[in-house]
Structures are given as C-alpha cells and as structure tokens.
C-alpha cells in the first residue's frame, strides 16, 4: 500500500522531512509515528496509516515533500491478498490527499465487519413491565417485608439515647476536639481518703476518689479561667463563666445522663462527694429534672469506675474541656536509680482546639497533676 504525504493542517502544501523514526523492514502499528516533518507551523509526527510492514521509504531526511507525494510503502495483510484491486482504485485515492485531519477511508481501512441486519434473529425476550408496574411491585415487596417477613431485630431508641445521639453529633460537628493524656500519682489521695472515709460514712456520704479529683479540677479551673468558658466566635471572644459547675457523666440503665454539680467552687470535697451521690442516684432512678442536667461549665467522665484506663471523651458543648479519669493501677517507677511503686490514675483531657491551643492544654494538665499529687485545693 502506498502512503502519500497527507495534509497535516490547513493550507500546508509541503513539508521538510526531518527524520525517519522507523526504517525499511520494520513492523509498524497503526498510528505509530513513522517520521517527523517540519511545516510552516510546527514539526509534526506522521502516524502510520496501517498496521503492517514498512517495505520502502521514498524520501531521505532533508527532502521537501509535497502533499500527495508518495512517502512510504507498506505491506499489510490486506494488500498482500488483493494488490491488484488496490492499484485499480488508485484514482480514488488521489482525491483523498488534500484533507484536514485524518479521515477513515473505506479503501484503506480493513473491511468493516458491519452488522448483518438481514440475517439477525433475536433470541432473547425482555420483560414487559413498565416503570410504574416495576415501582408497584417493588412497593408491594417492601410492604410485605415490613408486615410479614421481617426477620430483623430492632432496639427502639429512647429519648435519652436520641438526645445523646443528637448532642454527640452536634458536638463533633461544631468543635475541633483534641485529647491529651497524663499519668497522675494518686498515693496521697488514697491516704487522705482512707483517713476520712469512715467519718464521712457516719454522715451518710460515700467519699469517692472522684470527689478529690473534681476538687482539684475546680481548683485548676480557678487558676486558669480561660478553660471555664465558652466560645463566642460570632463576637470574636471567649465568654468567661462567673461560676464553676461540673457535669458528671453517669451511666444508667436508660443511657448516659450528665447531671450538674452547681456552683461547685463553693463545696468541700465531702460536699462534692455528697452531690455526686445524690445526682447519681436521681439519675439512675429517673428523677432528674431538666434544671439538673443544664448549666455546666466543664465536665468529668469517670470511665475508670467501670474498668477502662484510656478514653477520649467527647465535649459536652458548650464546654471547652472534658476530663476523663481511668482506673487506678499500681506501677513500678525508677526514681534516680531507686525502684519505687506508686498508684497511678491515667487521666485524659479533651479540649476544643478552636478556643484552646495544645500548649495551653498541656499547662492545664500539668497544673491539675500538680494539685492532685500534692493535695493542693
């Protein structure tokens, strides 16, 4: 098959052969670049019009070639079979030359395996249901599923669960929560509690470790009031609270409740313990009213009481922090080469990074740790 120099762009009638990219005898793919030709506009690669063997090149590098001149000859499966018929249609090919772009030519293209309409017999039948019939059938199936064949088990969500779901999502959607951890030595707290728990018991108060920790938490919030605040981005400010009210997460049969110790800054450790006791009882017996679960300025989550060591509590919006307390554990430490054993409380502090930087939060945790370890309240 003779390949004539095609029109590579509007108004270009000649080009200079820059170099051959293939040589005589090479097998070439359809559209493979066979040579580069420089025209007024650019250097263009000339693609092979066929898949086959390049049997002859008609020009050498540097030649000026006119559109329509024979550039190369190819041997393809097809033209070895019907060389004669090709040559007889040469007149038609001449007409092809001056064309913008590459037109598929029935004379050069492999014989089209066009679809034989006349001898086609369909053997597959499609369903006759219209969209509406399908939709109705679908609805019936759905309806039947609900009324008759429903094997799925459900747990209906109560209002407490639904409220938790809503508030958790809102919290995570509206804040940038980060959690930091610290290990606190609680030896002194244990000693202190052991000394006072019997007295408290006589007054009907169960003196818990949690009360000590909440007291130290309050002290730290007094030291660093920017943590006892809420974020008011609209007015570009932090709103500092004039009281410290600590919400305590309480696990109940019906779900999570978070009652609030109001004005906790005024309470002693035993007072805090008493409040926690009352609120927890009321939570578990479902006696809390709305005012008792609102108005907190910071939150404590005591997952340690049920045996967990580490957690990242979710913020109880609009609080900026939520303190998590893990279960106590006795550990061996090295102190200047000497082996010591201490009881450790792993604590975590989730904070809203929108309002508080990581360094500030570390400052808060360090101060809290100091207060807890040295019984500074």
């Amino acid at each position: 098959m003779q390949f004539k120099f095609p029109d590579v762009g509007e108004g270009i009638h000649e080009g200079t052969l820059v170099n051959w990219l293939v040589k005589e005898g090479d097998e070439v793919e359809l559209d493979q670049a066979i040579c580069e030709v420089e025209t007024d506009k650019a250097i263009v690669e000339i693609p092979s019009p066929v898949k086959g063997k390049l049997i002859k090149t008609h020009h050498v590098e540097g030649d000026v070639i006119n559109v329509g001149e024979i550039l190369a000859e190819f041997e393809t499966k097809e033209n070895t079979e019907s060389k004669e018929s090709k040559e007889s249609s040469n007149n038609q090919e001449v007409k092809n030359d001056n064309v913008v772009g590459n037109l598929v030519d029935a004379d050069n293209a492999p014989k089209d395996s066009s679809f034989d309409f006349e001898n086609y017999t369909p053997s597959m039948k499609l369903s006759n249901e219209t969209i509406f019939e399908k939709a109705n059938t679908k609805n019936e199936v759905e309806n039947n599923k609900v009324s008759n064949n429903d094997n799925t088990n459900y747990i209906e969500l109560n209002n407490i669960k639904l409220t938790t779901a809503k508030r958790m999502k809102e919290s995570l959607h509206s804040t940038a929560q980060v959690t930091q951890f610290a290990d606190v030595i609680v030896d002194k707290i244990i000693k202190e509690r052991n000394e006072h728990k019997e007295e408290a018991k006589k007054r009907g108060v169960k003196l818990t470790y949690l009360a000590f920790i909440v007291k130290a938490y309050i002290k730290t919030l007094e030291d660093m009031p920017e943590f006892n605040a809420k974020l008011d981005l609209e007015n570009k400010r932090l709103v500092l609270r004039d009281h410290i009210s600590i919400a305590i997460a309480v696990n109940t049969e019906n779900g999570l409740l978070v009652p609030v110790i109001k004005d906790a800054q005024n309470l002693s450790i035993e007072g805090i313990a008493e409040q926690i006791q009352i609120l927890a009882e009321e939570a578990r017996s479902g006696k809390l009213d709305l005012s008792q679960i609102q108005g907190q300025t910071a939150t404590v989550t005591n997952y340690g009481s049920i045996g967990s060591k580490y957690s990242t509590p979710v913020l109880n919006s609009p609080d900026l922090i939520n303190l998590g307390i893990g279960s106590f554990e006795e550990k061996v430490y090295l102190n200047k080469g000497h082996v010591e054993s201490h009881t450790i409380a792993p604590i975590s502090l989730t904070f809203d990074h929108q309002a508080i930087d990581g360094a500030q939060a570390v400052g808060f945790l360090n101060k809290l740790q100091e207060h807890l370890e040295n019984l500074e309240y």
Partner: protein, 327 residues
C-alpha cells in the same frame, strides 16, 4: 448502482442538481478549482463553469449574505461552509435573515437554499473543526436541519433538500465522508428529508442515532447483541429539525426502552429534547428511563483525546445495557 462513499454521493447529488436545476449555484471557499477542502465538489467547476460553481472570498458572512440575495431573486444557492466551527460569522445571516424572510414578508419572499456544513468530530482535526452544534441550529425556527448517516442517505437526502421550499442546513458527518462504501443508485432519487428512517424494526429496544454516531453505533451492535440477542429497533433520526415525532413516539410506545446516541455537548442538547418529549408523551409505556449517550460538556478536545469525548464503543454498549437491565 455503484459502490460509493458519502463524499461521492454528495458530489453526485450536486452534479445531478446542477444538471436538473439551471438556477442552482454552488458557492464557497475553494470549492471550485480545488474541489473543496474535503473534495466534495471535485470536478464540478470544470463541468459547470465558474458562474455556477463559485469560489468565494474567505468570508462566511459574505457567502451567506450572497446566498440570501441569490435566493430571494429566484436562484437556489448551495453555500458550503468549510467546517461547522466556521459557521458563526455567517450565523448572523442565518438567524437574522434566512430563517425569517418568509415570516417577515408574510410569505412574499422566501429563502430556499441548502447550506452544506461538514459536521462533527472524529478526524483528529484542529480547533474549530470538530464541533457538534446541531442543537443550536435545531433551536431556531424557520430552517430545517438534516443529516445523513451513510452514502445512500447522503445522496437521497441531499437531492430531496435541493427541492425544499425552505432553507436547510445539511450537516455532512465528516468522520464518515470516506469510511463507508455502499451500493447507491446512479440516477436521481429522493429520501424524505423530514422523516426518520427505521433501519431495523424491532419490539424490545429503540436505538436512535444519526450522522457518524450511527456508524459507531452499528459497529458497537455486534458485541452488544452477542451478549443480549434482543429484538431491537434502530432509527436514523435524519431530520433534526423538525423532528419526526410520529416515528419516534410510535417506536418508544412499542418498545418502552429508548437509547439516544449522539456526539453533542449534552447540556440543552438534541438528545435531551428527544428524551424530554418521549418521557412527556410516552411515560406510561416506558419500561426504563430514556438513556442518553453523548459527548461531554466541554470544548471538544484535540487529537487522540477526542476519541474519549465521542461516544466510545464501551459507552454505547454500557448505555444499551443500562436500559435493558433497568429494574
């Protein structure tokens, strides 16, 4: 009968037209001595002379303006615009005059003419050479838009358009100018240019296409039918404006499943128009939503990337499958 290509079919139709109608005048850039950028008018100036096959200056506005004057004065101009992308300087004449003269003069003057426009992509050409703007032409009242899909229809439709009393935009799918050879009668014959052609009658799926996409659709069919040997109906739309809704809606009601394949930018396109009308008129008969397999809403990309813009065999087959597997 001779086995010829689309390019030859158009050439023959123009030759017959020039012989039959002494008022017929071809005009365009390089159409005379050179025979047109694609060689569609090859040999016609030599046979009919420079006054009937006129090489014009490079001005589409001028070509179309001259056609308006010729037409009003009783001639039948057949202007050639080298590429669909070059039509826009002449579009002013089309939209402001050619489509309006009959209305403007309450029927006293008309502007019959056949505006020949090489159309569509698929030849890896330069910018402005590959657009598929049929929806814009079809949107304007007052002009018919016709497109053949093979050599037989190219000749029969063009000969029919040459007798139209209204102006016609005759889109010539350049990708298949030379790609198909087909037996075509040598003598004068006409195909109704306002009617869609049913290329195969069937009961289960209507496939609508036109122009070069009909060629691609036919190429995709064997692979599809191997997997789904269904009783399909294949319709060549032919007349893009006015659309032959008689044929289209009848077929849609019969099969209940319709796939439209073209290469336009889909937004506000002809496929959308067909889909909307079919949905509006046949909704209760439909067994699946009407599927459009089209180009994309981008400027048609150059060279090889163009192949991914045009409906590929894979996309055509996927579209057909989507409709017949709709649940």
């Amino acid at each position: 009968m001779s086995e010829i290509k689309v390019i030859d079919a158009i050439n023959k139709a123009l030759e017959i037209g020039l012989e039959k109608n002494p008022d017929l005048i071809l005009l365009g850039e390089d159409i005379g001595k050179q025979g047109g950028v694609f060689r569609t008018t090859s040999g016609l100036q030599a046979k009919f002379g420079e006054e009937r096959v006129v090489d014009t200056p490079l001005s589409e506005q001028g070509i179309m303006g001259a056609a308006v004057g010729l037409s009003i004065n009783g001639h039948l101009p057949v202007p050639e615009l080298q590429f669909d992308g070059f039509i826009w300087p002449g579009f002013d004449q089309i939209i402001n005059h050619i489509t309006r003269f009959r209305t403007r003069t309450r029927g006293r003057y008309t502007t019959p003419m056949v505006i020949r426009v090489p159309f569509g992509g698929g030849i890896h050409a330069l910018e402005h050479h590959s657009e598929s703007m049929e929806a814009i032409f079809s949107h304007i009242p007052g002009i018919n838009v016709v497109i053949p899909s093979d050599p037989y229809s190219a000749k029969g439709l063009l000969l029919d358009c040459l007798e139209s009393k209204d102006p016609v935009i005759f889109l010539e799918p350049k990708k298949i100018y030379r790609a198909i050879k087909q037996e075509v009668p040598d003598e004068h014959f006409k195909i109704d240019s306002k009617k869609a052609r049913i290329l195969r009658e069937g009961n289960d799926l209507t496939i609508i296409s036109y122009g070069a996409c009909m060629y691609d659709t036919k190429k995709a069919l064997p692979e599809f039918l191997k997997e789904y040997p269904i009783d399909f109906e294949l319709i060549d739309l032919v007349s893009l404006s006015p659309i032959d809704y008689n044929t289209i809606l009848k077929s849609a009601k019969k099969t209940g499943r319709v796939v439209i394949i073209n290469e336009e930018n889909p937004n506000c396109g002809l496929a959308s128009e067909l889909s909307a009308t079919i949905s509006e008129k046949c909704i209760k008969y439909l067994k699946a939503p009407v599927k459009r397999v089209t180009g994309f809403d981008v400027i048609i990309p150059l060279l090889k990337t163009e192949d991914h813009y045009l409906p590929t065999k894979t996309r055509i087959i996927e579209g057909l499958k989507e409709v017949i597997n709709y649940k």
